[in-house]
Symmetry: C2
Subunit: 349 residues, 2 copies
């Protein structure tokens, strides 16, 4: 139901005018972490360059082109809408590009709230945020999953939980393990080619969706299941999604994702300290099944090296937990903490 036989896609990534900016995080995520091929990026402002000229950190290369006709010369199977436009709805020029692509049989892939399927009747469209129709209520079957399950949680939303999870997955592969990444948001789903955007699921079924995802990930008997977290226990708009995902995925341990503590979660609401919110995540998890926070993953983007190292040291000190920025450095310390955590079969407080 949730993980179809993943089609092999070859993407043209539409990021017109935005490729070099943070808003294109779906595009960047697919390039850095995706299994599918990247045929080209479409951004006329950067046409003629390559990805490696603009964003060498992404670690994969492909040409950047200015038009759909050029993009088609690289034989894409699919065109990705690589960002959420500021106004919410796609600009008219993009719709025309997508229509032209659909007309020559290219699949449209979109993680937008705005659904594109109805705009292109009869054409292949993957609206990534559309949840499957048959999600059951949480059943408790997830309590019995064999492999160790780790979930990323955060002091805030949009703080790098997906990136942390994918970097831990990469570190696990490098260590010779076979991990499974469980995608729960649009970029994660596009990267992995399967999953459910849990924030788009009717709230009664969020825990059930999380449970089904973990059960699906357990099928090939991986060494480790790494669940992408969403939102934050301390974000007023998204905390319900966070908690449904936490209880539904029945994790054995948690990785707390944090960043600059001086920022606000929401107007007037500061980011809680890692130690405080780690204890709260543990206590709320333990109402159902104990899951200790075993490490802190820090997002130090934009910081000087010394500033980043100071933050990492301060958080290690405050929490008594291993802390690292897996993007700046390595996810190995976090992976080791996960592997040392006991597999929990205890249910109840």
């Amino acid at each position: 139901m949730i993980r179809p036989g993943a089609p092999e896609r070859r993407y043209a990534i539409l990021a017109e005018g935005w490729f070099a900016r943070n808003h294109a995080k779906t595009a960047h995520g697919l390039i850095r972490y995706g299994q599918d091929e990247v045929a080209c990026v479409m951004d006329s402002a950067l046409a003629g360059k390559h990805i490696s000229d603009v964003l060498p950190d992404l670690g994969r290369d492909a040409p950047i082109v200015g038009t759909l006709d050029e993009a088609l010369t690289f034989s894409p199977t699919s065109i990705l809408v690589g960002l959420a436009p500021p106004g919410g709805r796609l600009p008219e020029e993009w719709m025309e590009t997508l229509k032209a692509a659909a007309d020559v049989g290219i699949e449209i892939v979109s993680g937008l709230h705005q659904r594109l399927g109805p705009e292109f009747p009869g054409k292949p469209v993957w609206d990534v945020r559309d949840p499957p129709g048959d999600i059951p209520l949480f059943s408790g079957e997830g309590f019995g999953v064999g492999p160790r399950v780790a979930l990323t949680v955060g002091t805030d939303s949009a703080i790098g939980k997906m990136t942390a999870t994918l970097e831990i997955e990469r570190a696990a592969r490098e260590a010779g393990l076979s991990p499974e990444f469980v995608p729960t948001g649009q970029t994660g789903v596009i990267i992995a080619g399967w999953g459910v955007c849990v924030d788009a699921v009717v709230s009664d079924f969020v825990a059930g969706a999380a449970e089904q995802l973990v059960l699906e990930a357990a099928k090939p008997s991986p060494d480790l299941i790494l669940v992408e977290g969403q939102g934050s226990l301390g974000h007023p708009a998204y905390s319900g999604v966070t908690l449904g995902l936490m209880h539904g995925s029945c994790p054995d341990c948690l990785i707390l994702c944090s960043a600059d503590p001086a920022e606000e979660v929401f107007r007037g609401v500061p980011r809680p300290s890692p130690a405080r919110v780690a204890r709260l995540y543990e206590e709320v998890a333990a109402l159902i099944k104990p899951a200790p926070v075993v490490a802190v993953s820090l997002n130090t983007r934009g910081m000087e090296e010394r500033e980043a190292q100071n933050l990492i040291a301060a958080v290690t000190d405050e929490t008594g937990l291993p802390a690292a920025d897996p993007f700046r450095g390595s996810a190995k310390p976090i992976l080791e903490a996960i592997l040392q955590a006991p597999k929990r079969s205890v249910i109840g407080p």
Copy 2:
């Protein structure tokens, strides 16, 4: 959007074969707490009796009839599907009754997951669980609501949060206050004639729905806003709904609903103690806006008087909070605790 000018309904309550049982809680709730008129109850096993013969505690009377034809002699405007059938889908006989009612212009009102609108095209159907289409994300506007906001929370789901909230509302009216009840579940919405079933809302929008409901309830400047809670922080299937509702409704204080602590929330998961879970609710609320638990509302249904009093005394002892069963006794001690709680304008931990 959320509270239309409430039409005045006069209900025939369809509860065929089930009226005397707990499963008919929507029917019972409407009779005890609803503002709308009750024309009659339809249950052929009890035809010829009155509500007061069967369930005198409900405090309102109407005839019980066996057929739709008899029901129509009491001039209903609407027919309520008064319970959730065990299999999830309505039995065929009921569908026939509803069809016959719809054919003579009677409105169908249903709180079922199964939507009835598509079954009766062109007929007036109120599918209570259908959320409005225009719910925004949580905005923070709820932080500024004028009247004091109290929310019921629970040690478990299905533990009497709606009943507690409505009994507190009744006590407030009896004390000469003008309270507003905020309905968040199907029975509450049917009773009040407005509201949103938050568990049927896409999870990203649960907090926004809760905020909009409170803003709507604040419009007539009531003395007090009483928000019906859902689920429990400690129920794995519904905790996300609970937390979205808690953060989204921006309460000033919480009333903890509890019952026999020996029961299980879910297989293997016991009900947490009132003191433990009260502290957790407070800590999680305080990530956004402080909201103390000011009283415990106990559901002692089925207990002997002495057993009930012992439980009330034990919980008062354990929590240091006023505790009462508002159904068995009075909600006055709980109302007083709410009125003594400070109106909070503090945001953040």
